[in-house]
Symmetry: C2
Subunit: 207 residues, 2 copies
DNA sequence: GTAGAAGCGATACGAGTATATGGTATCGGG
DNA sequence: CCCGATACCATATACTCGTATCGCTTCTAC
């Protein structure tokens, strides 16, 4: 066997350079040569690990959403370990999606940029749909959990409520990047919507 | 004086071609030559009416949001003429923003595509901010109106409530284009959020 | 009429793109 | 030790892009 290299690590390195570039300068600024410069390698190396640009886009998108999902899962574990109310755990998880600090801002921009492309790009659309389904399923399950614990009225359509909450998160994120992270109390705003579903727990609603 | 032409009409014709192209094939597909083909003219003509690409982008963006604003204003006038509850008028107006039919889908994609570009484009960002401010001011005023009529609790922060509602609209729109216009009852979902603010009017909330 | 300005199109140019190709360096196994 | 498979790079190719420029046409004012 010949010379070896850690493919996963290389791909991640390239994808991160791609993400940095996308977040900083926008989708139009992403080219193989610029990604190569950012990753400290040659264009040829990128070609070596990604058959074409689509593959790079998909990988980078997937990498971003899976990292995000990981962060959310950690939040949930911590929240459950601390025996917090479901509403609070959910809110904390969702705040991960908002571009409130530098790291999350980069991630938001990556998701945003690639989701915009997904509208006209079947491969990316599939990644976007899957990510959306996962997140929707997760939030739906959490709300269902809230029903079980009496924090949510039994009559609510958990799926629709999850859609509304996720929509609000997404929209608030859009507003934040446009008007600045401290233009308005985004967490409070999101808290209102969550509280509107978790009517059984006034401690959260009245925060 | 030499030969005359209707500049506004020409610019609109070009901008519409631009918007069609953007909505159908995405921002990356928008080039002068394609816009010219779509508008049935030459590249030179576009250059004649727009000094550079930025000017075309800004004009097209502005055209899209002002047309949308006009549609919203008509909705409001009709709603007020029919003496509908404020919450209902607001909901009808906001549904204009959702890509529920072909025309609104095109408009949504234009706004979405250009807003995504605005993140890394000062000129477009200014248009986006202004459009956002206008819409936010409008919704805030409507909610304030609701307070005056007793449909909204006096204690609510009208500006923040407006932000939340607009965020939800935007996020629901994103979900709609990703999962199809009839994937879920978007109007009902939006109605829930509006009703959460307009607590004084159960007829709307319980619809 | 006709001068001349504006409308409008064709084309040229340089930069930048994704991808293809050929080559060199570097390591592991026999 | 050394063959060869693989990592990696430099450059070539065949585009497309935005923009600049030139030239023809068409109309109005005098």
């Amino acid at each position: 066997m010949p010379r070896v290299a850690d493919h996963d690590q290389r791909r991640a390195q390239i994808a991160r350079a791609f993400q940095r570039l996308l977040a900083a300068d926008g989708f139009a600024a992403v080219s193989f040569s610029r990604v190569a410069t950012g990753a400290g390698c040659s264009v040829g190396l990128i070609q070596h690990y990604f058959p074409d640009k689509d593959a790079l886009l998909r990988f980078a998108y997937d990498d971003a959403v899976s990292r995000l999902g990981e962060r959310v899962r950690v939040r949930v574990r911590n929240g459950e370990a601390a025996r917090l109310p479901v509403a609070e755990v959910l809110l904390d998880s969702l705040v991960e999606l908002l571009p409130l600090d530098a790291e999350r801002d980069v991630e938001y921009r990556v998701r945003q940029g690639l989701q915009a492309q997904a509208l006209h790009h079947p491969g990316l659309a599939e990644v976007a749909r899957r990510a959306g389904r996962d997140l929707l399923g997760y939030v739906t399950a959490v709300i269902g959990d809230g029903v079980g614990r009496g924090e949510v009225d039994a009559g609510v359509d958990t799926g629709l409520a999850a859609r509304v909450i996720l929509a609000t998160v997404q929209g608030l994120a859009d507003q934040l990047v446009l008007s600045g992270a401290d233009a308005f109390p985004a967490r409070d705003a999101l808290g209102q919507v969550v509280a509107a579903v978790f009517t059984g727990n006034r401690a959260v609603r009245d925060r």
